[in-house]
Subunit: 238 residues, 3 copies
């Protein structure tokens, strides 16, 4: 190979690699957006299939570990609780999870990726459906990890959902009860539907306003994004 | 051409093609987002120009076919109904159509594409504007097709909007009246503003919760995404 | 260099340039999304760092010019007003700024870019926090400019936020008071927290419905997007 050809080959290799990273970005967007569409409609089997075998899910202060933990959360807990064991939507139960504002960072080696994203939910029960009446808005942040398998397919490695604010449709975020939804306090296997471990430090819901750590440095300065949550919980009486 | 050069040329051609697909993705995002911005402001002429000549629009159980059908819907129907024949916004009429969560799949040959997306609307009339008072939230799913013309320009080939839930600002999605907005039941030319054909199977609005078929297979397993809508309408009394 | 090699080199150069533009698009998305995440949590120092030295911010009818103007707005005004001088969130104060629907256009020379985007906000104070009780929804449009520095880093050159509609959580967009938030009417240095100059023509809030000019031509016809705002303010009594 001539020097010239070697130089062109090196440029082509770099192009292939960087193009691949943009394709990864697109694939991860599709993966996480699909998660949103599946959760909307209680397609829990399809959700579980999005995760890597050694994945974990952080939810309301608990960590569900491995594929067994993922199944426990989506199938044994959510599917039972929300759709009475049915893998699909049921009449009059809304659970829309729009996925937005995803900052996607693919590692230079293209084997892993991280995403900061958010959801802005609408959820609740129609008055003609069976079950306790409720209707709420919810906002939350994701800080997720993804992994590309030997088969070239991206999967969710860690889904860390931090619900931030809840507001009932009637009263909104100004009147959300303190500790509106309890954080995980019992664990598997003692609690057969519980998570495997607690999230540390313990998260707390709105009106706490803690900032979730960013997986990436400041996009202009390149410095770590330092958080000051010193006033995020100062109004609690306990 | 040497073998070496031929091999480099083949890699370059593949790069050009795959880069082109990512550029297509970006162009389609811009196209559909522009649709959203135009609809926000009742720029109906600009909307119509986004469609291919043989396009179709699915809306509330009816299919509007061809450019004539597209014009009938946006110009003759919406422009008359919403802005009194004006190609632009009118005072006190809100119709925001944020476009989000678009899964964009460009065909390998780069001539067609498909998108699953969603909107999360805010709409209604201000109390100081003329007309019947109403204010509502709306969530809906798109499953759209796009086509790239001989001129290299992407256009909408099929816009299929499936409104899912509506909720008045006052009462929300827990109290949406059954069959809140009627599905198309009369057709063109008998109904001069009607669609050309019905959507089959007949869609039904929230509290029905039918899942709209996905244009793409499961992103990890590669298998078709099978829907179970068997319980999506079980609460209706009729 | 042979003719063949020269031709391959030219194709590689074009690929590198066009791939770079897609990478720019991704970098700008990350930049603006980060702005959103920082604003959510009153990380005002981190916001200011996103701007170029000669940047400007358009906000409620006023233009804040240069890094000094940007600091005046985010640090001296917002940080004082919203978080009592604290660079981070405070208990019970919600200010979520989801960033969505960004049409990103990178200039052919890759040195500048423009974005049309939107936010759909949730804001207000929890009843257990100190301060005047309020809770509102807000929708708005961005038409922003970005610049790539000699260091290869993208920064915000002009952030032009046009809030469109506001609605209190209790009453919504049907009952928004006319001129709900006053436009800038005093200027720096007379007003030590004021903008440097007014936005012309003077914007007006909902129920005005003016369309913000598009930075880009119609994506299909290529013609300028002509706005007809002749009826956008016709209902005002003054």
């Amino acid at each position: 190979m001539t020097d010239e050809t070697a130089a062109l080959t090196a440029r082509i290799e770099r192009l292939e690699h960087e193009l691949g990273r943009l394709q990864d970005e697109s694939a991860i967007r599709k993966l996480q957006y699909s998660y949103g569409y599946f959760i909307d409609k209680s397609q829990y089997n399809e959700c579980v299939d999005l995760f890597a075998d050694d994945a974990e899910v952080w939810f309301l202060g608990g960590i569900y570990k491995g594929k067994a933990g993922v199944r426990r959360l989506y199938i044994e807990r959510f599917q039972t609780q929300f759709t009475q064991g049915h893998n699909g939507p049921r009449y009059g139960w809304l659970l829309d999870h729009p996925q937005l504002q995803m900052v996607i960072d693919v590692a230079p080696d293209r084997n892993t990726a991280q995403v900061r994203g958010r959801s802005q939910m609408q959820a609740g029960l129609h008055e003609t459906a069976e079950g306790p009446q409720r209707a709420w808005w919810e906002g939350g942040i994701y800080e997720n990890d993804y992994i590309r398998g030997a088969d070239g397919i991206w999967r969710i490695k860690a889904l860390r959902y931090f619900p931030f604010w809840h507001g009932s449709f009637a009263e909104g975020w100004a009147k959300t009860p303190i500790d509106f939804i309890p954080m995980a306090s019992t664990f598997y296997p003692e609690d057969p539907l519980g998570p495997d471990a607690p999230v540390e430090p313990r998260p707390r819901l709105w009106p706490a306003t803690d900032t979730i750590p960013f997986h990436y440095p400041h996009p202009v300065t390149g410095r770590p994004i330092v958080l000051d949550n010193s006033r995020a919980r100062e109004g609690f009486k306990d």
